[in-house]
Amino acid sequence: MGAYLLRRLLVAVPSLLGISLILFTILALAPGDPFGDMASNPNIPPEVRLALRAKFGLDDPVLFRYWHWLVAMVRGDWGFSFQSRTDVARLILDRVPTTLFVVGSSQVLALLIAVPVGIAAAVRPYSLLDKLANTLAFAGFSLPTFFTGILFILVFSINLHWLPFVYDADIQATGLAWYWEHVRQAIMPVCVLGFFQAASYTRYVRSAVLDVARLDYVTTARAKGLAEGTVTRRHIARNGLIPVVTLVALQMPAVFGGAIVTEQIFRVPGIGALLINAMLANDTPVVMAVTFVFACLVVLFNLIADLLYGWLDPRISFG
């Protein structure tokens, strides 16, 4: 297991480096000079501007700049937000838990829907349930998250007045009321994201389980006289669900994309909303750092999925 872990880690490092290289290339190719404003500002003498350029290494060779940027990123030295006048790292770390909470709960919800429905559909392929699930899944991933969000607000907040549609980070309540308010305001963002993911997961689960359902050992289990429910649960589902781990990890980029949209709709103070607001306010250090954090999260979740896969499937050799 140790060697396997190490090997997966060694695979993750080049992808992180590759992603950071892509990000840096985009940044380096982008037009505009971070000190461009100063050139037109009569209060800043040219010497100061040149000194600043030298200090931040803007005239160094490209590889040098990449190296400095990478080192700074790895050390958590992500710069200073022009807009909110705080350290970017501070700003992001404050908001990461909210995003992970919303994304995490929505993934749990998605799997709670997708796994039972997908298995039920795969055990009786082309039954009424299968067709219904398939059609609903198609509708589910054809409904963009921003439209589902708007529909939810229209129905549950504006018409029924059940749920608040603005996420409040510091709720003025204590004890149980505090938890209740938190759950209430998280319901809509989590459901919007969860339903969207559940739609595609259902199809994955269905096809993964179908692949297993016709194998010989399943027939053997039936021939032994095991109850159909036992065969499904112990023999088909346990094996069939292993590839789903990888497929869920492959969906991570899409999940974080969805998180950006839902956070923006419901004003959830996570890093997705931070990214959009920073873009609208031209706050480049924040934009770069948040994109980098998103990339790291994606690589991290892929790594976790790889490890889980190795643990769940003993056929994967650790050697």
Binding site: G32, F138, P253, V261, V298
Partner: protein, 337 residues
């Protein structure tokens, strides 16, 4: 006990490798009218020629057939709409602000009294054009990368696949937003305000959507290049380029067409997401996502403003996805992921 059809596999043995089906693929795209040609009565049910077999399998997918009609109506509506509904999209009327659907304004009006139907017709053209163009970009890049990786026997293949996997692991939406954020002004200067945004959105969405196509093409190439008919062509002295263009690529097109269809719908979603976040098209180009962005702060007084464009996006994407599913049944019995 279990019929292969029950397991989600198409029972017809016509493997994608057979040139017959590939011909059908090309014919389906190039000459749809040919499909109307009647099947010769003498032909037994199992021995349909390429196009007919494809059409037969496609038409068994009822939702896909309905989707073709729905999508055709949407496309026609967007293309011919201005002839039937000649209200200017920037016709401001303060006496009719935020009105619900009525005879004068079937889809209602927005906060400036502009007609939402007219704006949706005009914006729908952009949304659909973005979808199709981004799909073309993604398909061309994917075909190139995939065939290079599929034909190479050296280090090029693994390297290209590593790059493909890397791109698959990139957080797409943040990157889309980042690219647009950084390059918006330059492209505006080169192509003008409208053209610049269009070119950029198409390039960025297409440039981040080619990976599935590349993987499919490579997988197809790896198996096709060892087939006997390719061997035969090679033994007759065909160059690699000729082999790819005339023997391998035509047989690999089925899954590519399916992937391309899905690409159109995901590009439409990507564009509307960008516009919905306020970072896509400017307000004077009312794509469906942009209308939603403008509408989202008036949900309590004018829900119709958001519902119509949202429903348009949903219907378009849903019908394209169903068509893709039908095409998969028709062209790509093996379902390569």
């Amino acid at each position: 006990m279990r019929d292969p059809a029950v397991l989600g596999l198409d029972p017809t043995p016509a493997a994608m490798g057979s040139p017959l089906v590939a011909e059908g693929t090309a014919a389906l795209v190039a000459a749809a009218p040919a499909l109307a040609a009647a099947v010769p009565d003498a032909a037994p049910a199992r021995r349909r020629s390429g196009p007919h077999e494809v059409w037969h399998r496609f038409s068994r997918h009822r939702l896909a057939l309905v989707s073709v009609v729905v999508l055709a109506m949407l496309v026609l509506g967007v293309l011919l709409g201005p002839l039937l509904w000649p209200i200017a999209i920037d016709d401001i009327d303060f006496s009719a602000m935020l009105q619900g659907p009525s005879a004068a304004h079937p889809f209602g009006t927005d906060d400036l009294g502009q007609d939402i139907l007219a704006r949706m017709i005009s914006g729908g053209r952009i949304s659909l054009a973005v979808g199709v163009s981004a799909m073309l970009v993604a398909t061309v890049v994917g075909l190139t990368v995939g065939s290079l990786a599929g034909m190479s026997r050296g280090a090029l293949g693994p390297v290209l696949m590593w790059v493909t996997d890397l791109f698959l692991a990139l957080p797409q939406l943040p990157l889309l937003l980042l690219l647009i954020y950084l390059f918006r002004d330059t492209l505006k200067r080169i192509f003008g305000v409208e053209g610049g945004v269009f070119v950029m959105i198409v390039l960025v969405i297409g440039g981040l959507g080619w990976m599935p196509v590349a993987r499919l093409v490579r997988a197809q190439f790896l198996s096709l290049r060892e087939k006997e008919f390719v061997e035969a062509a090679r033994s007759q002295g065909a160059t690699t380029f000729h082999l790819v263009l005339h023997h391998i690529l035509p047989n690999a097109l089925g899954p590519v067409i399916v992937a391309g269809t899905i690409e159109v719908s995901s590009a439409i979603i990507a564009e509307s997401t960008l516009s919905f976040l306020g970072l896509g098209f400017p307000p004077d180009i009312p794509t469906w996502g942009r209308i939603l962005f403008d509408a989202k702060d008036h949900l309590d007084v004018a829900p119709h403003w958001a519902l119509f464009p949202g429903a348009a996006i949903f219907l378009t994407v849903l019908s394209i996805n169903f068509i893709g599913d039908g095409l998969r049944d028709a062209l790509d019995a093996r379902r390569v992921v």
